[in-house]
């Protein structure tokens, strides 16, 4: 019995979807716009997160060691730093490596090269380049290095840039919160647009719902085809919306990459095509079914 009902509901939904052509088409078009907005928000978040991460990665604190600091001490401090929760990575730059970098950086400056030759000995100390998880963590990294009693440390450059760290931490935090706020607000608007479109579509069928009830159809039997139709609207709309991102990201990807320095959106789109489509599909189907469920409830009270 249950299979007969399922077969009738699914078949009936397809027939109704086809016969309500204009309403189905309009609903799908509105849903395409809303789901397209959701997809855009996903790509916007990808771009924003990647840009902010890149800014964060450009920030670090460098602990400079005295010339006679033993390498074992430096490596031990490196281990201790890595064990703290704030530190993401620590790069050890030995005295030799520091000299190499310095020479590379000043290879076209003959004066510096001859001055180094005259000195004979390597004047540069070893250093640790420390990257914290967020700019707000650098203060505690600095405190750890200063209050840890590490006598081999000559200088930590945190104090020179303290204001920059604080400002950056604030800017990144505000940017992330604003980004999330935009996503939430636009997401809610997209949902409301779809919800009300489906409500209007079902409003046009309110008399039909009443008639079905009067000829003895149970509530679930009346409601189920509307839910299936809602899901169908969601499926079609998410397929269209996902495909629309192909030319868009192809055109916009390189431009956005050069402007933001983030990932190429087209590459992101093609690499994450499956998860991107499934996310939009779920959004479409869930909104379609939920809106239909809520909209039919009102007219089932006959």
């Amino acid at each position: 019995m249950i299979f007969i009902h399922i077969k009738r509901i699914v078949l009936g939904s397809f027939v109704s979807f086809w016969r309500h052509g204009v309403v189905s088409f309009t609903t799908i078009m509105v849903m395409v716009l809303a789901i397209f907005m959701v997809g855009s928000l996903i790509l916007f978040q990808v771009l924003l997160t990647s840009t902010l991460d890149q800014v964060e990665q450009k920030v670090d604190v460098i602990a400079y060691f005295k010339l006679d600091a033993p390498e074992d001490d430096i490596l031990q401090i490196r281990e201790l730093l890595l064990r703290t929760s704030e530190v993401n990575s620590v790069e050890y730059i030995s005295r030799d490596r520091a000299l190499e970098i310095f020479k590379d950086r000043n290879s076209d400056n003959a004066l510096i090269a001859s001055a180094l030759d005259e000195l004979g000995d390597n004047p540069l100390g070893a250093s640790l380049r420390i990257q914290a998880h967020s700019p707000g963590d650098y203060q505690s990294v600095d405190r750890f290095l200063r209050e840890g009693g590490f006598s081999s440390i000559d200088k930590v450059n945190y104090r020179d840039n303290e204001l920059v760290y604080e400002r950056l931490a604030l800017v990144l935090s505000v940017a992330r919160q604003t980004g999330l706020g935009i996503v939430v607000v636009l997401g809610v608007i997209a949902f409301l647009v779809v919800f009300n479109t489906i409500r209007l579509a079902i409003y046009t069928a309110k008399d039909e719902i009443g008639i079905m009830r009067l000829v003895g159809a149970a509530n679930w039997y009346v409601r189920a085809p509307f839910l299936v139709e809602g899901a169908m609207h969601g499926v079609f709309a998410s397929v269209f919306a996902t495909l629309m991102f192909w030319p868009l990201t192809l055109w916009l990807g390189p431009k956005a990459k050069s402007f933001f320095g983030g990932p190429d959106l087209f590459i992101y789109y093609t690499q994450h095509f499956g998860s991107f489509f499934v996310t939009l599909l779920l959004v479409g189907v869930i909104i379609g079914v939920f809106s239909s469920f809520v909209a039919t409830r009102k007219y089932l009270k006959v």
Partner: protein
């Protein structure tokens, strides 16, 4: 079979649709409910179908108080009462065949039964050749015959027709009245609400007359008295 026990329906203090109405309907009876517009005929039918609740009193269908039923149980009673309305109430996006078969599908009848019964009923109402037409492709009289086919296809115990000829020309009116009479002769109880004098006088069966929500007469072989 059907029993209205002291039923009142009050929408507001100056709008009393039914006032202490009591009467019974016997199996296989043909009962006409007569009254001017607003006399309470349609309200009575809405109460029987549990579309609305009475302000007081009880309505029994086969000894079940229909207003004691839960929302889930109401469809089971409605499947035993075939309904025909003045505005036909057909599903506009379903063909004549699908409108009739919907009542059976909703009741969970199997495909073989539906395939056998629906053409038979459409033939009975003279619409076998219009089965694939949508309501907007049919005349008023044809639409009402589809509605009658839908009402009788599940072999209900009673047919309730609320002003079924209100939107029809004289020729179609008599066609519908003739159909209802035939259905009654085959053993189905028919309750016909109308304010058409000619129909009532021609049928010559039991007539209950309503005025301002009250029963003013109940005659076994009644005539139109308003």
């Amino acid at each position: 079979m059907i029993y209205f026990d002291n039923v009142s329906k009050v929408y507001s203090s100056d709008s009393v649709a039914l006032d202490s109405v009591t009467f019974a309907v016997e199996p296989k009876e043909f009962l006409s409910l007569v009254g001017h517009s607003g006399a309470g005929k349609s309200t009575l039918i809405k109460l029987l179908l549990a579309e609305e609740k009475p302000s007081s009193g009880n309505i029994y269908f086969e000894s079940i108080d229909v207003h004691e039923l839960s929302r889930k149980e109401i469809p089971y009673v409605r499947r035993k009462i075939g309904t025909v309305f003045q505005d036909f109430k057909l599903l506009p996006h379903k063909t004549a065949y699908e409108n009739v078969s919907f009542a059976l599908e909703a009741a969970g009848r199997d495909d073989a039964e539906i395939a056998a019964d629906v053409p038979h009923v459409l033939e009975l109402v003279g619409l076998a050749d219009r089965a694939d037409h949508f309501p907007h492709e049919l005349s008023g009289g044809q639409q009402q015959r589809v509605a009658i086919a839908r009402a009788i296809v599940s072999k209900p115990d009673v047919i309730v027709a609320d002003e079924p000829t209100g939107n029809l020309d004289p020729l179609n009116t008599w066609e519908i009245v003739r159909l209802l009479g035939k259905i009654n002769e085959l053993g189905t109880t028919v309750i016909l609400a109308t304010h058409d004098k000619e129909i009532i006088d021609t049928i010559g069966k039991r007539v209950i007359t309503f005025k301002n929500g009250r029963v003013v007469s109940d005659d076994k072989k009644g005539k139109y008295r308003l």
